[in-house]
Symmetry: D2
Subunit: 339 residues, 4 copies
């Protein structure tokens, strides 16, 4: 890190910072510039609580140099990680873009089987569906629980689709690990550390959604928690951020795809359903995500969106999904991939 002193810092102020830096196990390197003195600190700085130095007299600011994560970074592994999911071991992060579709919530056997067959026929490789729902309102539908997981497993057994389902508490990790193929950590739980550690000890890969206002460092540190706990199979998922925009439920920042590529070896999946909140915008953003280099798309598909128990406004019908798959295939091939 670099400590920038205020103009007029006295030799004893600089000396005081140098002592603090040394106390933290770092080597100092003082540079006297035209307007400012800066102190470069050399050593492995990840463990240091750096911003405390900001409190020292005449310090203007502290600038970190190193990224705070390690296992998730390109420094540890240069090639993209491929993560096999589901009974057919589809490799997320490989040449083919993995399309995962399904309803927001598991509502009934019929809804699940009908949708699973339709998305499989259209070319999806994964099936999403929530058995435990984190709902903003305590009065909203909270999910079918274990029964929902069993319905999902049945759909996998018939179709071969990889089952992706959300885990909302440490209590459900073992159960979901048993039934599902990929454990999803929702945006609201991205910094729920006990849960990150719990899925870090699970057998199945994790799909980690970015928090709706998480920085890139925070997102990759959440992945680091999971990897650090023992599970290297983390799929990153962008699902939109909260901004001042109101014509969308969230703003979907696709530039995160190249930005993550420059920082991490983990594969990146885009969720255009939460990422926009409106079914009408889902196709355009799915196509854009594939063109920008996404390794997968996860989207909501429901046979009767007007009557969906949740997220109806952002779900597309199986018919629309089939049409979209044809278009996704063409764009994927135009960027030397496939679906």
């Amino acid at each position: 890190m670099i400590v920038v002193m205020k103009p007029g810092a006295a030799p004893e102020d600089i000396e005081h910072v140098v002592e603090l830096v040394n106390e933290f196990g770092l080597k100092d390197h003082v540079i006297y510039g035209t307007d400012r003195t800066v102190i470069a600190c050399i050593g492995d700085k990840r463990a240091v609580e750096k911003d405390a130095i900001e409190n020292a007299p005449m310090v203007e600011k502290v600038v970190p140099i190193l990224a705070p994560y390690k296992m998730a970074s390109l420094e540890v592994r240069k090639e993209k990680t491929q993560i096999p999911i589901g009974p057919e071991a589809f490799p997320v992060g490989g040449t083919r873009v993995g399309i995962i579709a399904g309803p927001c919530a598991v509502e009934s056997s019929e809804q699940i089987m009908q949708t699973a067959r339709a998305v499989k026929a259209a070319g999806a490789i994964g099936f999403r569906g929530g058995a435990f729902k984190p709902r903003t309102s305590p009065y909203a539908f909270q999910g079918m629980g274990r029964e929902g997981l069993e319905l999902l497993a049945a759909a996998r057994d018939e179709t071969g689709l990889a089952i992706v389902t959300e885990v909302i508490g440490t209590e459900q990790v073992a159960l979901c690990d048993e039934f599902a193929d990929v454990l999803q950590i929702g945006a609201r739980n991205m910094q729920h550390y006990p849960l990150l550690e719990a899925v870090g000890k699970a057998a199945k890969p994790v799909l980690l959604k970015r928090g709706m206002s998480a920085s890139l460092d925070e997102f990759l540190l959440a992945a680091e928690y999971i990897i650090n706990a023992g599970n290297p199979n983390v799929i990153l998922c962008e699902r939109g951020i909260r901004t001042f925009e109101t014509y969308v439920r969230n703003t979907l920042p696709l530039a995160i795809i190249p930005a993550l590529r420059e920082r991490t070896h983990l594969p990146v999946v885009i969720d255009p359903s939460h990422g926009t909140g409106h079914a009408g915008m889902v196709p355009a953003m799915a196509l854009a995500a594939v063109a920008a280099g996404a390794d997968g798309i996860i989207l909501e598909c429901h046979p009767d969106p007007e009557r969906a128990a949740s997220d109806g406004a952002q779900s597309i019908t199986p018919t629309r999904f089939e049409q979209l798959m044809a278009r996704l295939k063409r764009v994927a091939q135009a960027v030397d991939r496939d679906v």
Copy 2:
């Protein structure tokens, strides 16, 4: 809610929406305007998954009319709720503004006792300190756990200060409920529903921090979760939101104080430490919060901020705290309150 149809909606489109509305148990009321047809829906709409209607043909948008929370709203209770905390049952929400101070993390017995005595002497009524720390990095200090809680309890026994400590997982709720006086839900956990339900079953009051990008409705729905689970003693805490601003760690939106007053009976506490991230800005924002009508202030105070295990940059020293208390008292009296 109000359903707004697109221009050119045909009678059968309107008819279709009316049927959906009726299916959801609502009465319809169609209004034909100059440019648009709108359908007002009458009935108790809290349980309805409204935005699904957005998916119906020729619907332009759906406008909710009712707030989605109930127990937390002024409709249930008009006067401000007073919540007694700690051994001296200080009433948060009463005329006196409750000042809660202490270090980010419990580090040692000496640090805790020294700080607790100092802030008590200066007039604080509560003492904050984390025994379990939700840290962004898996490599950062994670807290002392049960031992930290025992140190906090010892500080209470000597000083009479109410102990406020964060609970980061459902596993710790019982333990914290035993040792602490107020259970804090951190910003990162504001939508961690199993935890909200767990503290909703605890005996002690809850200090609920607003998520760093939570809307007002989401904040009050989180409170609703806790109240709905059985614990009516919820203290709301604003700790800053994430915006484009970089001169602060978070942007502290004090207008939330009058905004919450218009919507809820729950008391409101402000955290100027996380709310700014810089010790030098804490006094100005604490004074501003009291002037704006806050029921309490919670801030970080550490005897040696440069060497704090966490959040050193935003912690003030006991000496500065004492000076601040004198100024807070004057401002509180100027708005007909006290500290």
Copy 3:
């Protein structure tokens, strides 16, 4: 618009609002619901200063129903507008996606001619370059002025590329209108109304950039200003918004492409250079924009970005541009368009 009354509103409060509504030339329609009374207001509401009603006693909120713009809306024209630009009258908004490239600022004849020839050879249809630069710092390079415009015109005469250049004040409108083919209104000037009116009286089409925190309504109202002043040829341009994200200079919200399609007949161009701020992210976002349905791309291209007088960090070289064009062509064809 809809006026929502607070619970407990008395008949005289409702009567007072009805009188105000009638005074504003609107017909009232009162609906008594289970929890709330709402007053639907019928008539052409665009001219009314609606939110003043919010100040009336017992009014909870005022919900607008109509979009505030008219000429820019689909209600006036359903098919997409095609706007011919430059000596070859390339139709922006037609099947081919128009690619516009060039340096941030005009620096010299050699720089301009070299870049113009290169981008023309690669398939661009427009050439961008600033003669007047709105710089954040008064100490930064401010542009070559008239001489810069002459260099741009010379480049057009040789290559046939349409010249797009920014106008930063009403004083330069006539001059730019003489030399350029498209007048660009920069993001900082999107709500500079005298300038909007001035280009509204110019002969050439206008490329209107969205302000970095403008809402969709504000963006389309700015277009409305120009159309209303007499110039119907407005090309909308998204160049990124300001959010909390720091890995990009701006967050580029591509969902605005389908969102604008649902609201306006005007063509939409995307600027991935300002939209990301980093040359390395420009190709991915240009490809994504075309996949999402953009009618054009405008990007920065400089023969020696490291030494560019401005915006070097986000400029790509002519070699990279040529490679990108080949990829853009494939993606454009995959969505039934071309470049």
Copy 4:
């Protein structure tokens, strides 16, 4: 500035950056750390287009060290600047907090005189009112122009209040400079550089509003433009920023008051009317601003807000204003100031 190289940068990559740095007239200072090489660049860096270096091979990022403004900074002047305004030369930036009130727009002689007398009697020192209105919609009321300025001047002649009025184009600067006492630059025009230069050549002080998503550096650079053009009398005004919050029209970040104090000698005024958008929140935020150290408050006051030609929702009545002044006086005195 500091250039941070990527891990694995070769000696020739470092050499290349050193050459660029030298070419820009800066001295290099290379530091080889454990994980990264960084190049500190020494010299007066304000004129350099630094981020272009980001484009050089193996450069990870470029970190600026110096603030980009100079005349507005504490380095030039340590004590706070006092700016006398109006016929009574009230010193903005002195011990007394200057209260400026008045309607959004000048509508009639009666409205202006009635309001001016009322706010003067209550203790205001300035009177605000727009003769030229920058309206988001071309269909909204655009102001009375010169006639409005004459009405404002008449109000000053009778009451002695300093007249603050907005200038929206270079064309109006001379006229406003003749009639008004303070020239206001609105938030939408904060980066309208020709206008900044024009008021920089005017005789009267300038009240510069922060753009709704301007960074602190951009805000102070806008002030720098005015000072650099010859007018040192710049009053900074915070009027709220655009964030995801919807219960307010803008989020009012009062921490900017201490943040500006640490960077600039210019006085700071707060606008709680635009800063919240709701009359009911104005008193709490005005009190908070004074407690936080504001040098002035500018707010909207209208005798009949329900029928105001603009901004009715955020205007308070003269009666409310009088009550607020009594409360502001008490809070000001509690922080050793007065109104």
